[in-house]
Every structure is written in structure tokens, then in C-alpha cells.
Symmetry: C2
Subunit: 245 residues, 2 copies
Amino acid sequence: MEQLGTHRHGDRILGGDRQSCGECEIRDLTFCSVLTAEEMARVRACRTEVKLPAHHTIFHEADEADHLFNVTSGVVKLYKLLADGRRQITGFLFAGEFLGLAANRTYAYTAETVTEAKLCRFSRRRLEKLFDEWPHLEKHLLGIAASELIAAQDQMVLLGRKTAQEKMASFILMMSERAEARGQDGNPVTLPMNRADIGDYLGLTIETVSRTLTQLKNKGVISLMGSGHILLSKPDDLGDLAEGF
Amino acid sequence: MEQLGTHRHGDRILGGDRQSCGECEIRDLTFCSVLTAEEMARVRACRTEVKLPAHHTIFHEADEADHLFNVTSGVVKLYKLLADGRRQITGFLFAGEFLGLAANRTYAYTAETVTEAKLCRFSRRRLEKLFDEWPHLEKHLLGIAASELIAAQDQMVLLGRKTAQEKMASFILMMSERAEARGQDGNPVTLPMNRADIGDYLGLTIETVSRTLTQLKNKGVISLMGSGHILLSKPDDLGDLAEGF
DNA sequence: CGTATGGTTGAGTCCGTTCAAACTGAGTGG
DNA sequence: CCACTCAGTTTGAACGGACTCAACCATACG
């Protein structure tokens, strides 16, 4: 299934290559799913595949927004910083997800790998030309942006109005649902990011994240299985906790 | 300037009419600004102008998303509720701004007027057909969505990582900047919403909003001028407070 | 084994909340 | 004109959930 006459795969750190796409296993998860074979060929021409180690910055806030990216494997986080170093993670991105949309010429946030990750990097200038030619692709992008806006509003509810326990329960459930949405196992769920990242995503400190997980464990709704794996023992109860019941 | 051979203007509460557009004073602020005269004519055909009193619900979360709207005057708020009534306002919309983008068939949030407001209501089905015909309009919409995403991320930073004072200072400055962006006076700034709305937007209680305003007043960076008018006595100091200096 | 890193647990503090009361101003009616 | 109401706002006092600071524990690694 993953072999199509070639066995090449980009393994160089920080290197780029032009192979694959035909053997892309997550094509259905990306905007490439709406492209025909001929369109794919032209998209591939403005594409470079990059492989990055964990905890590596992809771009910084205020950098020139020269590229757009698809995550093809691994996990990426987006964040903004305040002057004194306080950090808010605005999203985690998994295989198939898209990043780089910018309103101005510059990125509005920093993007950094959480795990080792592979990304398709596109020239923004060249890809935008293709958007102009293919309205169906732009329409698809608009759909993605609309979904992200809805998700952002949910996150505002979480940050502004939920308690630590509700935040944590919501987070675990969301990670579980997203894993299932991309065809992976949602229970037990894998949390590839560390406590600091979870805290900065939920508007909590490391200690509160840790304590809240212990509370949920003591309530019997989850089990901590080590190295970022969590078993949802009572998913329905976890859902109730997430919504404040 | 506002007269173009007709003196009609829709003043019926809850009523709709098909006039104007030609005399629309805020056309430059809306997506209509990218339309030609012929395109405008077709957009007008799927448009109804509605005038609503203050504190009137435009649509509810989970309603069928049959319409899209442009705010032509007044102020609108968007919010989501938790099961027990906790509320998070995700945005305030002013003249020229657009609402109704939905990922599914249903709205993801409730929209309600803050002040008396006029809106252009479009049939979603018919307007989306025009999107398909006019890629430049869809492109413009994508730009709007991208800007809103950036704004949503800023709001996440505010909700997750800022103190009450930083939240309040950021809010006043944002309201001031947005007033200027639509050609109104940014200082003194008008806050048409009440304390409860400000609190539910910033993730604070009414009391904290009130106390924080008093603190800012005592610091001498703002003056409360009554009925929602605030004078920014030291805008730069207010900016410093907003960013945590 | 020693060290480093990430995670957990504990004790005390503080910011924002909660609950309560007083104040303000606009509208209403005697 | 003033008394009254009522919603919105401000202020006060006490509380509490999450934070801060600190110590301890677990796992990985040289």
C-alpha cells in the first residue's frame, strides 16, 4: 500500500527532498485530497519535504511568512510569548494538519516541533498562485480556516470559563477524539507533549496539570500508563467532568 | 454623500427591505468593497436588511446556519454557554464586520445584539453560489477568516496568561484601535457593552472588571467619563500594562 | 553510580471570586 | 418636584482555587 515502485523516503535531518507524494500515506487528511493527479504534480513542484528533530523551531513569530506547511508525521505546537516569557500554546498539530496561514506578511506565532516530525514545506508565493488558479482548493482552505475558528472559540471557553479539572478532562477527550479522527487509537490516548506544554495550552502551571491528573486518576476516570499514555477508564464520566457536571 | 436619488431608509423594527446598498456608508468596511457594480446587484438580490433592538438574539448556537450577516450599524456579541450557564463571549462585532461562517450545517455560537443594530442578512445557500462563481470574493473571505484566527490567538493569550489588569488594559486599547480602524474616534473610546459582557469576554467577573477599571483610573492611565466612555489619559502606559511591563 | 531532566507532592500565599451591601442614574408615577 | 423603583455598577469582607516556592521522586543516560 505504501510502495508504489519506489522505496525512497526522506530521512535526512533538516534536509529536503522531492520524492514521494504518490506514496503519501496521509494524503486523505490533507488539502492534497481535493487535488487531481495533474494538480498534484504542480503542487509537488513547489514542495520540499523536511524532517526535523524534536523541540526544533520551524519558524518564529514575526518571521517573514515565506512558507506554508503540512505536517506529515509527528507533532507540532504553535505558541505566542508575552514580554516576560509567559507562553500561550494556541494549538497542537498532528499528521495531515496545515500551518502557516498569515494575515500579514509575517507569522503571528512561533511553530516548534514537539516530537520528531516531517513536514511538507511549500513556497507561499508559488502555492498562492495555485490557489488563484484552483478555486476549489481555496474553498477547501476556507473550510479549514472556518473549522479552526470554531476550535479557537471552544478553546476560549476552556481558557476563560473552565476549572482546572474541566480543562484537563476536555484536553484528554479532545486528544482522544483527534487521534480517532486520523485513524489512530483513541483509548488509550497518547499525549506526546510534556506537562509544561499541556499547562501552557490550558492556561495552567505544570504543578496544577500534574495535580489535576492525579485527581482524575483518584476519581477512577483515567489511568496513567507512563510515558504519555492515558487510559480512559470512564470516558462518559470524563465527558461530564469536561462540561462541568 | 449618503443621498443617491432616494431618501428611503429602513426603520421598521425586525422588518426587512431591499433598498439602499448604493447609499451604504460602510461598504468599504465590508466584503462588498471587492465587488463590481454588476456583482453588487446580484448580491443585493439575496440580501435583506434587518433592524434589531438591543439585547435581541440574532441566532442561537446549534440553529440551522441558513444565513450570513454583515453588521451595518450597532454592536453584536458572539458567545458560547456551558451547561451551568457560565458564558464566554468570543467576540464583539462592529459596523462592517461579518458573521455566520460555520463549519457544519449549524452555528457554533449564539449571536446577540448589544445595542440597536442593523444587519444585512444573506441567504447562505444563495451567497455560497456566488462564492463559487467569484473566486476573488472567496479569497477575500479567506483573508477575513485568517485575520480572525490571528485575533482568536491573541485572545487565547489574553485569557490564558494575562492578569486582570493586563486583560482590561488590552481590551480598552483594542476597542480604541478598532474604533479608529473604522474611522471613529479612538480616544475617548466608547464601550457600548455592560460590565457583565466585558467580564464574559475577558474571563473575569463583573466585580473584577469594575475594580480593575477603578485601579486603572487611580493609576491615572484612564478616566471614566460615564455611560461607557473612557478617556485614555496615558495610552502608552496603558499599552505597557497590556503587555505586562 | 552520579547526574540531569521531567514529574509529583507539600505548604503557604495571593489574585480573583463569592457573597453581601451600598451607590448611581434613568425612568415612572403620585 | 420628589419619592420610588430597578438595573447596573461600585465597594467591602471573606473565601478558595490555582499559583509559587520548595522538596522529593522516577526514569534515562553517561
